[in-house]
């Protein structure tokens, strides 16, 4: 029996000109990816769909197919990161992107994942932005005596320029008229206050909150499966008021619905179809799905699949893309970026390309192991020799 030998000292990758192993061991890229390669065609289609919804406001949806390991999750997260990057704080339009890891059993699950991904900090900022917007309007229309310069935002509240008690009741009336959902409006506005923020957030994210706690916030009922659509639409309507639009919903692992019972699956598809139908503007749903599952959906549920106009297909990486990807990862741990594939050799890249079968996740895993193997055997570079040591990957 071998002893378990846990090495706590850090490995020294400097021999390869790297400050760490650039390849994530699990092959799963980081939450906010900045390396994305070899899927120009997919990116073009995504750009088309998003550009049209962002520029015209007309809703537009896309299905993203690709086999396991071809980077569906990676692509969705990359899209999210790119949008957040391009439309930063000072941008006039602020698209809202939320990532849903798996559709779950009903739209309620989707809603909860979505709102959870947006996060309480973001929604609190939105709540404050909305209150600030109402303050500015009330000031402009002479409904309150205080003059608020446009763009002063929540600072007007924080600096004592306006009284919250002058603004919030009005904001509540206005928002309830728009959302037709008073509970939602209360919870959303309450996010702006520290004291109630936590309960409001729990409520908004679809948690079941017992009556006594709900009562403190004057909330009549929880968001249940029956209210999820309504809550989502209220959220979208609210965010539109402060130019946080369009709403881009990224749903991953859609093939999961194949595991649902026929009835549940039908309900799920119906509710998504309904969602698309009642939101002709300001919404983009991007669904990542295994190609074989999508094919059956197209064949059997075209009432749903018809609503999604565009399809993009993730292809296995070609040799050129593999080289490019490896270089990009290496650059994350280099002091100065370069085009070189060192410590890899041409031959080892070729071997990795073949072994990895164009599958990005697998390629990343092989690269990471290969570097460690080379380090262990004190090799000068990662050449074909390392593959003798890696029996099975």
């Amino acid at each position: 029996m071998n002893n378990l030998n846990i090495v706590t000292s850090k490995k020294d990758y400097t021999i390869f000109g790297l400050n760490a192993n650039p390849f994530p061991y699990s092959g799963i890229p980081e939450q906010v990816p900045d390396i994305y390669v070899g899927q120009q065609e997919v990116m073009d289609k995504v750009s088309n769909v998003l550009s049209s919804v962002i520029s015209t406001g007309q809703s537009n949806h896309l299905i993203l197919t690709g086999s396991y390991g071809n980077g569906k999750s990676h692509t969705l997260k990359y899209i999210q990161a790119q949008i957040r990057d391009q439309f930063c704080e000072n941008s006039v339009l602020k698209p809202v992107t939320g990532y849903v890891a798996q559709p779950g059993e009903s739209f309620w699950d989707i809603y909860r994942d979505f709102i959870y991904d947006l996060g309480s900090t973001y929604l609190r900022e939105c709540s404050r932005e909305y209150i600030a917007k109402v303050s500015e309007e009330l000031s402009k229309n002479g409904k309150i005596e205080e003059d608020i310069e446009p763009g002063m935002g929540w600072r007007a509240v924080e600096r004592g320029k306006v009284l919250l008690s002058d603004i919030v009741p009005q904001a509540y009336v206005l928002l309830s008229e728009l959302t037709k959902y008073p509970d939602f409006s209360r919870a959303f506005l309450n996010l702006a206050y520290e004291e109630n923020a936590y309960t409001s957030w729990e409520w908004l994210s679809g948690e079941a909150i017992e009556y006594s706690r709900r009562r403190e916030l004057h909330l009549t009922s929880n968001i249940t499966a029956n209210h999820a659509q309504r809550a989502f639409i209220a959220l979208k309507t609210t965010l539109e008021q402060i130019n946080h639009s369009p709403v881009i919903m990224l749903i991953d692992e859609f093939e999961f619905i194949e595991t649902l019972q026929a009835r549940t699956k039908q309900n799920m598809l119906n509710s998504l179809r309904h969602l698309i139908d009642v939101n002709p503007t300001g919404l983009s749903v991007i669904i990542a799905c295994a190609p074989e599952v999508w094919e059956t959906l197209v064949a059997e549920y075209h009432a749903f699949s018809d609503r999604i106009a565009k399809e993009a297909n993730l292809k296995p990486l070609d040799k050129h893309s593999v080289t490019y990807m490896v270089t990009e990862y290496l650059n994350t741990c280099r002091t100065a970026p370069s085009d070189s594939i060192e410590p890899f050799t041409e031959e080892s890249i070729q071997r990795i390309f073949i072994e990895g079968n164009g599958n990005a996740r697998r390629i990343i895993t092989i690269c990471g192991q290969a570097i460690d193997e080379a380090l262990l055997h004190e090799m000068k570079c990662v050449d074909l020799g390392v593959f003798e040591g890696i029996d099975e990957i």
């Binding site: 600096r159 004592g160 009284l163 919250l164 008690s165 004291e195």
Partner: protein, 345 residues
């Protein structure tokens, strides 16, 4: 670490007042005698009084009082805090005039005057128009009082109403932008008295916002709440609980909360050596409201002394640790307060 817990000197028209300080509520009554014992003659540390402008105004006392005001009537060296009557306004559905109440406060010789507020209750929320209006009126009244003051030597405390710390902070910012108040007073805490966290949150938020100005908390001042409120940064308090009427006969136990008289086993001795309990036997104290009230004030005096010592030694947290050891609810509140001060919750 305990920078918000300080001994402060408040410079009033009568004399310097050292904090923490308690203002027993004088219930006035017809002719101003009421049933409040003349505690200020017996407890040197307790030469302070909270009295209500509206109740003075609406009783014959106001007519009779004359030039010397409260000082002549009760105590020349006493510090008088005159509340405006907001509570009465709400309970009796009156609309009082803020300037009229200010004049009463000035005429009776108040050392500290609180502006006319419209109390809100814990269950009220901002979506309730009445609630929002109450907060707004309290704010407007505070500014009116400041603009119309005639006696420069009377300190004016802005009365704060609200249930959310953010709202309170917003109100303070609004008021500070528009006037120089001599201090602030938090109202509406009675309705939250069993919600320690809410009280801690509010005092903490207000103290952070007002810098080193004096801070009063209305209506809360039992010997257990005082140390906690002082710890959070409050300076002065008032309460009438020490004299609460009815069958309750609340007796503050030395160093350990309060107990209803009926729960004290009937013995010859009372568990206290204050000047009241030392002289009067059990039966007498039990049957005489004023005696219980006096004993209770001695307990508060004792508590404040111990607190001041702890503040001077910079050992407030150690003191509270011991103080609340045997009271799980208070101990939990103290831990929450501690975390709050350290920015952990």
């Amino acid at each position: 670490m305990t920078s918000m817990t300080n001994i402060r000197i408040i410079d009033t028209a009568t004399r310097e007042l050292e904090t923490p300080a308690f203002f027993p509520v004088h219930n006035g009554g017809k002719g101003g005698e009421g049933n409040t014992p003349r505690y200020w003659e017996m407890i040197p540390d307790m030469n302070t009084m909270m009295i209500n402008a509206y109740s003075i105004y609406s009783s014959p006392l106001y007519e009779k009082m004359g030039e010397g005001g409260l000082h002549d009537k009760y105590s020349n060296n006493g510090v008088f805090f005159v509340d405006s009557g907001g509570f009465q306004q709400k309970n009796h559905d009156l609309t009082l005039d803020p300037i009229e109440m200010l004049r009463v406060q000035e005429n009776v010789g108040a050392d500290i005057a609180a502006t006319l507020d419209l109390p809100v209750f814990a269950k009220d929320c901002i979506y309730n128009q009445k609630y929002s209006d109450a907060v707004k009126i309290s704010v407007k009244n505070a500014l009116i009082a400041l603009d119309n003051r005639e006696r420069e030597d009377m300190l004016i405390y802005a009365s704060l109403q609200g249930n959310d710390p953010i709202m309170m902070m917003n109100t303070i910012d609004y008021l500070k932008k528009r006037g120089n108040f001599d201090g602030f007073a938090i109202g509406g805490c009675i309705s939250k008295r069993s919600d320690y966290h809410a009280i801690i949150d509010i005092i903490h938020a207000v103290r952070k916002r007002i810098g080193d100005l004096p801070l009063h908390v209305f209506g809360l001042g039992g010997p257990t709440m005082i140390p906690l409120m002082v710890y959070m940064g409050a300076d002065t308090f008032d309460s009438s609980a020490f004299l609460k009427a009815g069958s309750k006969r609340l007796y503050y136990m030395p160093g350990n909360g309060s107990i209803e008289f009926s729960d004290i086993p009937e013995t010859t001795y009372l568990p206290c050596t204050c000047p009241i309990c030392s002289i009067h036997p059990y039966e007498e104290v039990r049957s005489e409201r004023k005696l219980i009230g006096m004993h209770n004030l001695w307990m508060i005096t004792h508590e404040i002394r111990k607190l001041k010592m702890a503040i001077e030694e910079n050992e407030v947290e150690q003191y509270l640790e011991k103080r609340f050891m045997n009271s799980p609810a208070m101990y939990e509140a103290f831990r929450y307060a501690k975390a709050k001060k350290r920015g952990l919750v």
